[in-house]
């Protein structure tokens, strides 16, 4: 099996990237991911249930996120909720995407496209 090349998965869809970004701070369940994304984008990105969980499913399938072992304290826990964690692969892909975007932003700055 050839070594894993994260750049082969680029570019990421914005929703996927946001999800990886949010999970980089800690394990969360789907609804919390949705809320955190809405907060970080000042309410501009609001995911519906369908797109949220389909995207998470795709990330899980691609091995970028996985079900987490971690659970919050029992009283808060609702056993229906699956907590997701960023896998090592997911971290690599998110980092590669960040580098790609950073290069784009640098190009844009150089072209005078910033205020």
């Amino acid at each position: 099996m050839p070594p894993f090349d994260p750049t082969r998965m680029l570019p990421l869809k914005p929703a996927h990237y946001l999800m990886l970004l949010v999970l980089a701070d800690g394990d969360l369940h789907g609804y919390a991911i949705k809320k955190e994304i809405a907060r970080r984008t000042e309410g501009r990105t609001r995911l519906g249930a369908g797109s949220l969980y389909r995207s998470l499913g795709q990330l899980e399938e691609a091995g970028l996120v996985a079900e987490s072992e971690w659970r919050p304290r029992e009283v808060l826990d609702d056993d229906r909720r699956r907590y997701l964690t960023l896998t090592a692969r997911g971290r690599q892909v998110a980092a590669a995407e960040t580098d790609r975007l950073a290069r784009l932003v640098a190009d844009a700055r150089a072209a005078g496209l910033s205020s």
Binding site: H16, A49, G50, S51, L52, Y53, R80, S115
Partner: protein, 900 residues
């Protein structure tokens, strides 16, 4: 939509997802959908239903997508992998291509249905469902309304706004806003040519911060712009005017432009996606509120007064605050003003303060717009339903004729589910082709929502209706849903039962498919009857409306509007001089028959009213009347008939005794004894009476359908006002006459910002605009539904005729005449359509009841409309049966017996 119902729909929609998805995320996803539904339900009234519908539609759509891509395990990040579906899709494409005529007709009729409903959805979306474009963190933006005695939101006074802004309420910022027209010329020089009237927003400095808008260039005015001395002459350009007027000049910040003839410095440009906080009129400029013409003219009145209402208030809630907390904090404030213009401010009850989420459409307008929009989309979905039923009918006929083939496939080992999927894929393909074409149709329809296409508007109004991702999602959801239904119904009919029955059915019978087809026909005829009866009622009502006499002769009269307040010429003497100049100048021009200047023309939709007082002290009465200040020649220019006395003359000047002319209704109301001439009336706040010198005929004030209302006229020289219409009866070609009027007024003052020149007859038509729109919509939909019903009936009847060829042949061989055969076929068609006619007729009665406000002079049960519409429908249905009937009658018995 009820909460429990929505939840069960969500649960049903979850079944659309793959089993894999459901096992992993099903419960959680339902929880999130319920959360979203809860948020949607907090919206007011019908809007809640819309929002909830959108949430559910999106959830369902993703279910379909999940299935198509074969669930999470099917695709990974790039999606779409080869599953059984790709095989079905290929099969569907093959069979669609094999019958191009069928595919084209079906897809084209669907395109019309999908296109019309998507365009309507885009309109509703723009009107109701969108947030303020370009604003950030919108949850915290509220409209702070003060509700006074009347229950309607009143305008804020400046002192109370300051109290709100500087008080201890949990606000991050607040802004007072007042829209207004201004004249704009780019040149820094003096009275340069080429001034335009444009729409501006006069705002206090925190306006942009409140909406969370940041400049794309430069900056926004600071707090010093709110000082009542109006010393800050800074202007912010909208992105649109920066691009169009200044060609996107990168050096625009710092340029000096002239607004209302005064120099202003451009300090910033608003972002491209920001068009003000209100829907429709997109401001070209943002100016400090302290630079409003009224504020400059009389600062004392505006900035100190406890009664002068002065704009609406937008506010941004402090971090963590809620609208309720804000309302609570504001309830405790001692507000000053009362009802603007009320007699004694102190006696007013304190206003109630309400904080509502700020939306592009004002709260008061939302309920009627939502109701009308829901009705429109509902009707269009009905038409789409009828179209789908037609396509489903065709598919059913094809499927029925393929029962034998299906039975064979089953016998050869195909799964039943597999066959259903194959048939559904075929239907879906046709629907999706129709849906994509429908989007193109919608794009063509959307420009018709521009009000400027229908009526001359003083400013361009951009409703921002566009076929975007959301409309696309709507179209996709609608086509998928209808497509699934239309594919599944016939498919399940065909593969039902065991192999033996299927084989038997394939060679005759088909009773149940027949029943399903008649159900489709009933549906189509119902929709057609419903729409045709409504259309007939509206056409009748438009006819009645058009025959109403407006009380004046609009033909040949051209008019244009100008505002001397914007030109800095609103001093009473200036207005007098200017008016005299314009009238004298125009009178001498060739072709100009009559000229007048007036503050109001009939039927332009903006008439103002004020009380007229009659009777001696102690026994006085107040009569609310429309009013207009007019020059001599006004009644002659409009051919308003003089009933008694005289019209105004040039001698009714500023120094002459005050005079007035009443219309017949006011004369009759004010002086029931019958003689108004020579009597005295007091207009508005007059302390000196005016002598009635004439009585003229009634004219319609705003809409021709309005009842005659009291109206008073006074000489413009005695009551100079800055907002004027110049009107002239000009002989000859319309375009040339219009140009003449514009040019000659500009000859008096080249720097005037003149409104467009309009023909008064167009304005008269404007008076019936609501009726015209309803007739256009109902008529178009009615015609479409009629065509569909005819096609449907034709399809079914010709199908049965073909089936019964043998039977008909036998009958004819046994001596049946051609007439009997034809009559039999016609009877079958009519019986097929009858239930639909009856149901549709009854539903139309209900619909017309809802739309009563659009009808003039006819009631919802007008018998003529009913007979005409249902008669037409029946005639078309009979016509649709004639072709198959003739074919049946032409059957030669010998050939018929040889069939099969």
């Amino acid at each position: 939509m009820r909460g429990g119902f929505a939840r069960s729909v969500a649960r049903a929609l979850l079944r659309l997802y793959s089993a894999d998805f459901r096992a992993r995320y099903g419960a959680e996803a339902l929880e999130v959908v319920e959360g979203d539904l809860g948020v949607a339900r907090e919206r007011a009234g019908l809007l809640a239903g819309w929002r909830m519908g959108l949430v559910l539609a999106a959830f369902g759509m993703h279910g379909v997508l999940d299935r198509i891509t074969g669930g999470p395990s099917g695709g990974g990040l790039t999606g779409w992998a080869g599953s059984g579906w790709s095989h079905d899709v290929r099969g569907a494409v093959r069979s669609a291509v094999r019958r191009p005529a069928f595919t084209l007709v079906a897809a084209a009729s669907l395109a019309v249905g999908v296109g019309a409903s998507t365009a309507a959805f885009a309109l509703i979306d723009a009107l109701l469902l969108r947030d303020i474009s370009g604003a950030a963190d919108r949850d915290r933006i509220v409209e702070v309304q003060r509700i006074e005695r009347g229950g309607e939101p009143a305008q804020w006074t400046w002192p109370d706004f300051v109290r709100l802004r500087d008080g201890s309420a949990p606000l991050a910022s607040a802004a007072l806003v007042q829209p207004g027209a201004v004249s704009l010329s780019e040149g820094a020089g003096g009275a340069g040519a080429g001034a335009d009237r444009v729409m501006a927003l006069f705002v206090t400095s925190e306006y942009f911060a409140t909406l969370g808008v940041r400049p794309t260039r430069g900056r926004f005015p600071g707090a010093e712009a709110d000082r009542p001395d109006g010393g800050v002459r800074e202007v912010v350009l909208s992105h649109g005017s920066w691009q169009e007027r200044f060609q996107g000049d990168p050096e625009v910040v710092g340029r000096v432009i002239r607004v209302n003839r005064e120099a202003y410095t451009v300090v910033g440009v608003a972002p491209a996606d920001f068009h003000g906080h209100r829907f429709g009129s997109r401001p070209s400029l943002y100016l400090p509120l302290t630079r409003h013409p009224a504020a400059l003219a009389d600062p004392e009145r505006v900035f100190r007064s406890a009664t002068v209402g002065w704009g609406e208030v937008l506010a941004r809630l402090a971090e963590g605050a809620t609208a309720e907390r804000l309302e609570g904090a504001l309830a405790a404030v001692a507000w000053e003003g009362g009802d603007p213009g009320g007699a004694t401010p102190g006696a007013e009850p304190p206003p109630r303060i309400r904080a509502v989420p700020a939306r592009p459409l004002p709260l008061e307008a939302r309920a009627p717009v939502t109701a009308a929009g829901t009705l429109l989309v509902g009707l269009l979905l009905l038409v789409l339903g009828a179209t789908s039923a037609n396509v489903a009918g065709m598919l059913l006929a094809r499927a029925a004729s393929r029962t034998g083939e299906m039975a064979l496939r089953l016998a050869l080992g195909s799964g039943r589910g597999r066959l259903v999927r194959h048939l559904v894929a075929e239907a879906l393909l046709i629907f999706l082709v129709g849906g994509v074409a429908g989007l193109a149709v919608a794009r063509r329809l959307v420009p018709w929502f521009d009000p400027g296409r229908w009526v001359p508007t003083p400013f361009p109004i951009d409703l921002g209706v566009e076929v975007d991702g959301r409309s696309f999602a709507f179209a996709l959801a609608v086509t998928t849903l209808f497509g699934l239904a239309c594919g599944l119904l016939p498919a399940l009919q065909v593969v039902r039962g065991d192999l033996a029955t299927m084989m038997r059915r394939s060679s005759g019978g088909g009773v149940r498919t027949g029943r399903l087809r008649s159900a489709f026909i009933t549906g189509q005829v119902t929709v057609a009857a419903l729409l045709l009866v409504s259309a007939a009622l509206f056409v009748r009502s438009l006819h009645e409306g058009a025959s109403i006499e407006p009380g004046f002769t609009p033909a040949g009269v051209h008019t244009t509007r100008l505002d001397l307040a914007l030109e800095g010429r609103d001093d009473p003497d200036e207005i007098r001089t200017f008016t005299t100049e314009v009238v004298t100048h125009l009178r001498g021009r060739p072709g100009v028959e009559r000229v007048a200047v007036a503050t109001d023309v009939p039927l332009d939709g903006g008439s103002s009213s004020a009380p007229v007082r009659v009777g001696s002290a102690g026994a006085e009465r107040w009569i609310q009347s429309h009013f207009a200040h007019v020059t001599d020649g006004y009644f002659e220019a409009l051919s308003i008939p003089l009933r008694a006395g005289r019209t105004f003359e040039a001698s009714d000047g500023a120094d002459a005794p005050l005079v007035a002319i009443l219309n017949e209704t006011l004369a009759r109301t004010a002086f029931p004894d019958g003689d108004a001439l020579g009597r005295v009336v007091y207009f508005a706040l007059d302390s000196v009476g005016r002598e009635v010198v004439g009585v003229v005929g009634d004219t319609s004030a705003d809409l021709v359908t309005d009842e005659a209302a009291p109206q008073i006229f006074t000489p413009l020289q005695q009551d100079p006002a800055p907002t004027l219409h110049v009107l002239a009866r000009i002989a000859g070609d319309e375009g040339a006459a219009g140009r003449l009027l514009g040019d000659e007024i500009l000859a008096v003052d080249p720097a005037l910002a003149l409104g467009p020149v309009r023909v008064l007859a167009d304005l008269t038509d404007l008076g019936l605009l609501p009726q015209r729109i309803v007739v256009a919509i109902a008529g178009a939909l009615g015609a479409l539904a009629l065509l569909l019903a005819a096609l449907g009936v034709y399809g079914v009847v010709s199908f049965t005729v073909r089936r019964r060829t043998r039977e008909i042949g036998v009958r004819m061989a046994l001596g049946s005449s051609r007439t009997t055969v034809v009559r039999g076929v016609l009877r079958e068609g009519v019986l097929l359509a009858l239930p639909g006619l009856l149901i549709g007729g009854v539903l139309a009665l209900l619909l017309a009841g809802l739309l009563r406000s659009f009808m003039v002079g006819v009631g919802p049960s007008d018998p003529l409309s009913w007979l005409a519409a249902l008669g037409l429908l029946l005639a078309v249905i009979v016509l649709a049966c004639v072709l198959p009937a003739r074919r049946a009658a032409g059957v030669a018995p010998a050939d018929a017996l040889r069939v099969e």
